[in-house]
């Protein structure tokens, strides 16, 4: 339970980070923040959490919910708790307020912003590309370079499965853009802090 407030430092942006652009529209994107929550697995928790964002006009970029260990330090999954990993963009002050409002929810055990921490992050994407005969080799080259797996190979389309950090997936999508991407499904980012810190 926080009894002191650190003045903004934990939410300050890394000045060295380059500007992020949307892989397709190339618009500048606000730096992304990833928040992980440990919540009680109760009906309505997701609504309560998303209301904290929507009330302030904040958009959630991605959200992953999964079963969590039953208590910190426990090894079994009892179904009492869930993990939420939320990626969103926005200014640090509002984000700080959002985290506090999330912490305030009765069913939220903790909410942590991992911006600037040393973390392992991962995301999965399925990309369906419509292919013309002469484009096949080039697409397969991209797939091989990024270790994307071709999980479906038809005469008119193929599906690539690619796993990795969000930036890597953005890059694959950007490279496939000149071809025709028919469908795109991303799992959303999951993340875990290295070492002894809590996620």
């Amino acid at each position: 339970m926080p009894t002191t407030i650190q003045r903004g430092s934990q939410f300050e942006l890394d000045p060295g980070k380059p500007v992020r652009r949307h892989p397709v529209t190339e618009e500048v994107i606000q730096p992304l923040h990833t928040i992980s929550l440990l919540v009680r697995n109760k009906p309505g928790v997701l609504v309560r959490v998303s209301l904290v964002f929507s009330r302030r006009g904040y958009n959630i970029e991605s959200l992953v919910v999964s079963p969590a260990l039953s208590a910190p330090g426990a090894s079994e999954i009892s179904g009492d708790f869930s993990r939420m990993t939320i990626t969103c963009s926005g200014d640090p002050d509002t984000l700080e307020q959002i985290i506090k409002q999330l912490e305030k929810l009765i069913d939220v055990v903790h909410a942590i912003d991992h911006t600037g921490q040393s973390v392992i992050e991962s995301e999965l994407a399925l990309i369906k590309v419509t292919i013309a005969l002469k484009e096949r080799t080039e697409i397969l080259q991209i797939a091989e370079h990024y270790r994307a797996k071709v999980v479906d190979y038809g005469s008119e389309s193929m599906i690539l499965r690619v796993e990795g950090e969000t930036d890597k997936i953005d890059a694959v999508i950007a490279l496939l853009k000149p071809f025709h991407i028919a469908e795109l499904v991303r799992s959303g980012k999951i993340l875990m802090v290295r070492g002894s810190l809590t996620t």
């Binding site: 009894t3 002191t4 009765i106 903790h110």
Partner: protein, 560 residues
């Protein structure tokens, strides 16, 4: 029902309906008394008034669908002002949930943003645990409303689950108690350096009963006190160090004190926009200290120099031994000059003034009564002229600004405080929103005295339109008001009308002495009067208007 009895609930405010029938049936055999209201909104405000007057959670019982949706305004009112309340709503049977059954509404869904927490009970065996948690959540930490949605099949069936005795397990809920001692020391160090301190007292001080500790602190430091609208009563407003209410319609000397201080110490207050006005100008160079039980308040509006997370009373008590007298003699003298220079005043001529009626009410024993208000001009005048000297004797809807709050809240307060007189100060607009509860008050012979300040306008709206919108009156004229005296009499309630200043004392004394149940005093006051001082929304404290300006004013920048 046994769960309610275990929580020490003596009465609940309710309105019956199909889906809540099993609970109403159980009431017949219970020690819990039912107050049957005339509209569910009234029930929530009564429970709210009961809770504000006692600190104990007020309990509401209503049915599904419209019964529950009529409670939404009351929930918002309670949430914004941190009032402990438990609202039980009937619901359609679990197998029909989500199938558009008769009088079905997604009540937990509708109310998520206006509750501290809520439950939809889907298993009868959960009832004891849920009820225990609901009361615990409502009254601890920063209090607030908790809603429990109870499907009819759950309340109908026998609940064989034992009462819960083990401690409540809520791993995501923490209640701060005492603040970090290092930070308390830091706050004391800042106070020691201050020459122009001011204590800014909010509702948190009322809730935690921090008043006596704050008075000790103020006297030890020799620091002036100001309070918010909801902070009224924590510290006696007639004390020499007390400068009254600050903010948009606060006293000029309270606002000058705040504008010129070198340290402002918020105790259970949240730097609301009614207080700060233009934020970039607010106490620009002053040190800011902040006690709050809700850590989400720290840094929400501005960044204080020290944030003390904890219960206001405990933190002030911990701080007391660490402070000594400030070198504030010059500062108090300066404030004294402002008091003389800018006293609260109003024109004595030109018809009956609301300010005069309220001033007289204060002088004729109003200070010993519990006072509730609606929202608008009368609320601000009451806040200015009715000095509050006792904790939990001033009940007003602050954050939500709910019209129609005053009268039902007074009924709740009267139930909570037998033997005390309760005055509901209402406007003609607000009173008409919940006046059906005259029947509730009459049936119980409650000593609720309603003072209707009738100017036949939504006066605060009219004031803004006059000052900022070229006097283009729109949607503010309440033409068609009923004869309030005849209306009260239709409910069997004693009523007086007063039109002349000379009659005010006589009527107020008669109402004060009336002990046969509720009564109504209608004061027909000057139609077009304005509340001053005023800091236009979004303006700086230094831009305060002390009397009616001669020139046309810009539309205010702030929200409302």
């Amino acid at each position: 029902m046994r769960c309610l009895e275990r929580e020490g609930v003596e009465l609940l405010f309710g309105y019956s309906g199909g889906a809540a029938m099993p609970i109403f049936d159980a009431l017949v055999d219970s020690t819990v008394k039912l107050v049957l209201v005339r509209h569910e909104q009234g029930a929530t405000h009564m429970a709210d008034g009961y809770a504000r007057a006692t600190g104990k959670p007020g309990v509401v019982l209503v049915t599904s669908g419209p019964g529950a949706t009529n409670c939404v305004t009351g929930l918002l009112t309670a949430l914004m002002d941190s009032v402990p309340m438990v609202v039980l709503t009937g619901q359609t049977i679990t197998s029909m949930l989500g199938k558009d059954a008769f009088q079905e509404a997604d009540v937990t869904g509708i109310t998520y943003p206006v509750v501290k927490h809520s439950y939809l009970v889907k298993n009868a065996a959960d009832i004891p645990r849920v009820m225990k948690e609901a009361f615990y959540l409502a009254r601890t930490g920063r209090p607030g409303p908790v809603l429990v949605d109870l499907p009819k099949d759950i309340t109908q069936g026998p609940c064989t689950a034992p009462m819960v005795d083990e401690p409540i397990s809520l791993p995501g809920y923490h209640v701060p108690g005492r603040a970090d001692p290092e930070l308390v020391k830091k706050a004391a160090a800042y106070l020691a350096k201050s020459r122009k301190p001011v204590l800014y007292i909010g509702h948190g001080a009322v809730i935690s009963d921090a008043g006596p500790a704050i008075m000790q602190l103020a006297e030890k430091l020799q620091a002036p006190i100001v309070n918010t609208l909801l902070g009224k009563g924590a510290c006696p407003e007639d004390h020499a160090l007390h400068q009254g209410m600050l903010g948009m319609h606060g006293t000029a000397y309270a606002n000058k004190t705040v504008a010129n201080c070198d340290l402002i110490f918020a105790i259970g207050a949240r730097w609301d926009d009614r207080i700060t006005g233009k934020l970039s100008e607010f106490c620009k160079d002053a040190i800011k200290l902040h006690i709050d039980i809700d850590v989400a308040e720290f840094g929400k509006v501005l960044r204080p120099d020290v944030c003390l997370a904890g219960d206001a009373r405990l933190v002030v008590e911990d701080l007391l031994p660490l402070v000594k007298k400030c070198d504030s003699a010059d500062w108090l003298k300066e404030i004294g000059t402002w008091r003389k220079q800018y006293p609260l005043k109003y024109p004595k001529k030109g018809g009956l003034r609301a300010q005069y009626v309220l001033d007289r009410l204060d002088k004729l024993g109003g200070r010993d009564c519990i006072i509730t208000t609606d929202v608008g001009q009368h609320q601000m005048w009451a806040a200015q002229f009715c000095r509050t000297t006792k904790n939990r004797h001033w009940l007003s809807s602050g954050g939500a600004g709910t019209m129609g709050f005053g009268f039902p809240a007074a009924i709740g307060a009267a139930y909570a405080s037998p033997g005390k007189k309760v005055w509901a100060i209402c406007g003609d607009g607000g009173f008409q929103m919940t006046l059906a509860e005259l029947a509730t008050a009459f049936l119980s012979k409650l000593p609720v005295k309603v003072l209707i300040i009738n100017n036949s306008y939504l006066g605060m709206i009219r004031q803004w339109q006059e000052l900022f919108f070229d006097n283009r009156i729109s949607g503010a004229d309440l033409e068609g008001n009923p004869d309030f005296v005849k209306l009260a009499q239709a409910y069997g309630v004693k009523a007086w009308r007063v039109k002349r200043a000379g009659d005010v004392d006589k009527v107020l004394k008669a109402a004060m002495a009336y002990d046969q149940g509720p009564c109504v005093v209608e004061a027909e006051v000057v139609k077009e009067d304005n509340v001053f001082p005023m800091i236009p929304a979004g303006a700086a404290v230094k831009d305060m208007i002390i009397e009616k300006p001669k020139h046309r004013m810009e539309k205010p920048q702030g929200s409302t």
